[in-house]
Symmetry: C2
Subunit: 303 residues, 2 copies
Amino acid sequence: MARQNTVFKEAYNRYVAALRTDAALPSEPEIAAQLGISRSTARAILTRLSDAGIIRWNKRQKIVLRQPTEADFFPSEETNSLHDIIERSFMQRILSDDAAPGMQINELELAREIGTGTTSVREFLIRFSRFGLIEKRPNSHWILKGFTRDFALELAEVREMFELHSAAEFGRLPPESEAWRALSDIKAEHQAMLRDLDRRYKDFSALDERFHLLIHGASKNRFIADFYDAIAIIFHYHYQWNKAFARERNERAIHEHLDYIAALESGDQAAINSACRLHLRSARQTLLQSIPLTPSDEVHPEQ
Amino acid sequence: MARQNTVFKEAYNRYVAALRTDAALPSEPEIAAQLGISRSTARAILTRLSDAGIIRWNKRQKIVLRQPTEADFFPSEETNSLHDIIERSFMQRILSDDAAPGMQINELELAREIGTGTTSVREFLIRFSRFGLIEKRPNSHWILKGFTRDFALELAEVREMFELHSAAEFGRLPPESEAWRALSDIKAEHQAMLRDLDRRYKDFSALDERFHLLIHGASKNRFIADFYDAIAIIFHYHYQWNKAFARERNERAIHEHLDYIAALESGDQAAINSACRLHLRSARQTLLQSIPLTPSDEVHPEQ
DNA sequence: ATTTTGTTTTTTATCTACAATAAACATTTT
DNA sequence: AAAATGTTTATTGTAGATAAAAAACAAAAT
């Protein structure tokens, strides 16, 4: 079967959604650039648009004939990349309750259950291994190390080192830096969320991610950026399955963020350090509370 | 062609090298455990030993008949795992002078040149990408980011954060910890190397790696350990191609290590922090000096 | 009853093949 | 001549096949 044309289908859907009847369509290279794909795929999209009678296409002439309807789109299941399918399926599996730390992970079985080839599963696992949740026995299976208390503590430890560093760097950014504007925007969003907290507190996790990403951007260090990418993905799935979105917990975090932002804006390094530490300590608590106690944790209690 | 039996050949060579005529051979599971392979492969080794007339094998009875000769070993080229072959070939390539940052990396071409399939090259590149030296354009090629001054600075930055942390943790280890003995052994090796520096200064890099690995062990943090693994691999190849082994530079590093070890043994956190910082600063200098100036560095000078 | 050996099954590591996608080259249009 | 379209070629992403290696199962020996 080789590969699915999900790049084409997904880009086609995006382009159809943005089609306006009045505007004439731009050149092929321009369409390709807009969609972030190659010209070959852009041409495939134009061909299909033409076949579906949505546009008339003759060389440079690309005229929109009708507004697309629901039926013109590809169903959303067909536009997911294989990588995303595997990722979702795998994360669901390892965050579910019957995934015990120490469990073996079998490439062949995973591939069969997801309905895909072994190569893709293998590559996914290799990529995923950098998150520290699985480990390879050479010439043999993978081991699930699991989302344990140890994992959370090690993650939090590195996160704190990196964020203290990045926050200090942020405080040293020149006033003309674009980052200050972005910080002020995010501050406004925090305040807006606080005013309508009852309805919006569940959106906090996305805002949280954007806030910390902005801070880490100041460090201009690929290792720190990569690590935060990993954290973001892990948290994304973890908090999806573990409803740790208590309203009060998020409210407290928003206030901590606002203090943290104020410290950054003051440029006072001691204040930044202290606000950052305060927030990180409570973030660590939130993380630890979201982890179910397992037998192994009771045997080796930390601290 | 599927896979090569390099695991078998490499384990066979190891076992043949350790064979003693007098001793009777242990059970199959024990041999497997000694060599770190499965019993199936251990049996394959016994079969070959028997076929070659080196042992007589009948069920539990495994008698060594003769001392193996040079001709009994597999040639060393046949015992390299594919992963190692690809790693060496790739590192040689990207550390060579005509590998300019920004260059495209082509999986197919690499595979052809190394004489291997594309899958293995792909998997290698995915694993290697965590070192931050290459980056993937989805659905397209990889980009060589290169061993640039920026790379070295970012690497050094994280390394310093981690090592200061680990060193502090090391200082807090209980006196009965095994690590203190290991530290004292390494200290003795430093002193021995210093006494015979003219002949041995080139071995410093291996000792250096062991020393820092020991320190990082104290942090008990998988992310820190993984990062140091990456550093060790990168340095291994980098210093192999860039002969940065000036005698005086290594001599200075040995003295710094000895000061650092003394601080650790004193348990005085302030002393540890200061000795660690001193050493890290000069390690960073050594690293930066080993990087050839490229045009891009001259355009964006750091600091 | 446990350990060892004998045999069979499963899984991994790797190659090859091929559709989708990107990239390169050639021709036409402005 | 620069940009767009038309056409061809190269590369990537993925499935499927297979030998090597591991693991599981069965029988025999201490």
